[in-house]
């Protein structure tokens, strides 16, 4: 898993068990692997990873996070975009974004 992307349900700020981890920090977003084939279909997308021939379907919210996985973006920035686009509370938006990024990382879709 990409460092700093561990999903935690503690409140924003430093967590009790990991005082060094500040969720408000401007952590960089991981970057999409260039080898992933993306087929955007309407407001969703299908990702194909040729390395292990696996296929993933992203709904509109997941696609927003996927599209944000580019150089120069930060997790906090994506959370704010997520919050503004979908009108979701910041804490929920942060949880969703972290889970999605962790999913991308766990499946080798980002680097």
């Amino acid at each position: 898993m990409t460092p700093g992307l561990t999903i935690t349900h503690s409140e924003a700020g430093a967590s009790a068990d990991r005082p060094w981890f500040d969720r408000r920090a401007e952590l960089p977003c991981p970057i999409r692997k260039p080898s992933i084939n993306v087929q955007q279909l309407d407001d969703e997308a299908v990702l194909f990873d040729p390395e292990n021939a696996s296929t993933f379907r992203l709904n509109a919210t997941a696609l927003l996070v996927w599209n944000a996985c580019t150089p120069g973006r930060t997790i906090a920035g994506v959370v704010r975009q997520f919050h503004e686009t979908w009108g979701i509370e910041l804490d929920h938006a942060r949880d969703d974004v972290e889970q999605l990024v962790a999913f991308f990382a766990a499946n080798g879709l980002v680097q």
């Binding site: 087929q39 279909l41 194909f48 021939a53 296929t55």
Partner: protein, 308 residues
């Protein structure tokens, strides 16, 4: 053809039969297929099903692109428990089969060889038909009622590509025909007969989990029943539920793409290009889930979303 297979070092053992068996050659859609069998009845049945596309040996330029199917008596089977081996391009394809299983397995063996050796099309597990120049993919696993629905559509003027394969040209994204005989399960026999379609039931044939099967030969249907290549406009995922009122529910293209990817026979051979093709096809298509029931009601429902 058989000689070519034996000389390549495949597993086909030398022929020891006292009788000579003729080879029959057919052009089934884009594929040339030759059949040879120890069982005369198999050659009769194959010829009945594919007599309209029989080729003479002079029509074949090269044996290179011919799929070679052969049925041989299994050497170690007892006379009262006779078993037969089915070879595709010289390779044994299945465990020894009973006499009443040979034709269905031979037919599936052809499909298997196409999946294995032909990569000029993206292949999906789907029935495919067309309606006034627009292609319809009916993608579903076995037992979902694809062939029965296809038979019903043909009686209403639809054109036929295949009841088992969607062959999509990766460059043009057009559907192409693999017009094999329609394979019907026993549960559909009455419905097919009620449609007035000629069901070939001369012999009792059994296919693994499908049970008893019979065939509809395209030779018994109108000459123009096979569709010319056309673009895909509808992708439908049918599921037979026997419900009183069939229903069609729109689905997202991404959801359809996932299912099409899973139903692709040879996506792994095309890699990223296979997903590109599926994406391109779906951008111009509407996608639905179909809960099918009464055959004619289901056909009418499908026609209602594929207007003239």
């Amino acid at each position: 053809m058989t000689c070519a297979a034996t000389t390549t070092g495949h597993a086909l053992p030398p022929r020891s039969s006292r009788r000579s068996h003729a080879t029959a050659l057919y052009q089934i859609g884009p594929f040339k297929v030759s059949f040879r069998s120890d069982l005369d009845e198999i050659m009769e049945d194959v010829d009945h099903l594919y007599r309209h596309c029989r080729l003479s040996p002079t029509e074949v330029d090269s044996t290179h692109d011919v799929i070679t199917m052969e049925v041989r008596r299994h050497l170690f089977s007892l006379p009262f428990l006779r078993r037969y081996m089915i070879y595709g391009d010289g390779e044994p394809l299945f465990s020894p089969r009973r006499r009443d299983e040979v034709l269905p397995y031979l037919e599936w063996g052809v499909n298997w060889r196409i999946i294995e050796s032909r990569r000029e099309h993206l292949q999906l597990h789907a029935a495919t038909v067309s309606w006034r120049g627009r292609g319809v993919i009916l993608a579903a696993n076995s037992g979902s009622g694809k062939s029965t629905l296809t038979a019903g559509m043909l009686t209403r003027g639809w054109k036929y590509f295949s009841d088992e394969f969607a062959l999509i040209d990766p460059r043009t994204h057009m559907l192409h025909a693999y017009p094999k005989a329609l394979c019907m399960k026993a549960g559909s026999f009455d419905a097919v007969r009620a449609l007035g379609l000629p069901l070939y039931t001369r012999r009792h044939y059994v296919k693994a989990f499908k049970g008893r099967v019979a065939y509809i030969s395209l030779a018994d249907l109108p000459d123009d029943v096979v569709s010319p290549p056309c673009p895909v406009r509808y992708v439908i995922f049918p599921h037979y539920t026997g419900t009183a009122t069939p229903t069609m529910t729109p689905m997202s293209r991404a959801e359809a793409a996932m299912e099409m990817a899973m139903m692709s026979f040879n996506r792994h051979k095309h890699g990223c290009a296979g997903i590109d093709v599926i994406g391109q096809v779906l951008r111009d298509a509407q996608c639905f889930r179909l809960e099918s029931g009464n055959l004619m009601d289901t056909c009418a429902l499908v026609e209602s979303v594929c207007p003239a």
